[in-house]
Symmetry: C2
Subunit: 113 residues, 2 copies
């Protein structure tokens, strides 16, 4: 279990600091299965989780959604037959906040449970 997953999201403001290098690379070590991708110039943390069918994928989406509600921080969850693509980023700062790394680690824990 990574330490990140034990942390809670903090309230995020538009002037909150973005996670930049070298901190970003350091945090990525805690979530090695996540990719840094970019959507319309905004960096995102993204991982594809695979499942046996649509129902299992949708159940995972609901579990991650429940965690997101608890944390007050919400991802994009693309549910398809046999897979869910999870993307974390922070709208308010158009970038990555420490909250995104925390929630990525919590997503990994859900997948592993």
């Amino acid at each position: 279990m990574s330490e990140l997953s034990n942390q809670a999201c903090e309230a995020c403001r538009a002037d909150a600091p973005r996670v930049e290098e070298p901190q970003r690379s350091e945090l990525m070590k805690s979530i090695p299965q996540w990719q840094l991708s970019e959507m319309e110039t905004i960096p995102q943390l993204q991982r594809v989780f695979t499942f046996k069918n649509f129902r299992q994928a949708l159940a995972f989406t609901n579990q991650v959604g429940e965690m997101a509600e608890q944390q007050g921080h919400h991802p994009a969850l693309t549910t398809e037959w046999g897979k869910v693509t999870v993307s974390w980023w922070t709208h308010k700062i158009r970038g990555l906040h420490q909250n995104d790394f925390i929630c990525a680690a919590k997503t990994d824990e859900i997948a592993g449970s």
Copy 2:
């Protein structure tokens, strides 16, 4: 209520006919709020549904997912805070089948209910 939404999906094979023009334009009239988009050269029917928060968006995703299971035909459902993007296409034929138009109409019905 469109007639399309009263139809059921049929089993689809790799050699099933794609919906091409002019039939495609005719079917689009029954689902005027859907866009034809293209993902890696594969045409898709896509519509964004908006909601007041994340929980309502996730509830809609579950309703559409339940219908998809009943029909044995599955979309991509991207759930975010306040919106769900629904995409229908048919993997086996790498294009649009009549099933996709039927399921788009059924999705509209769920949103309207």
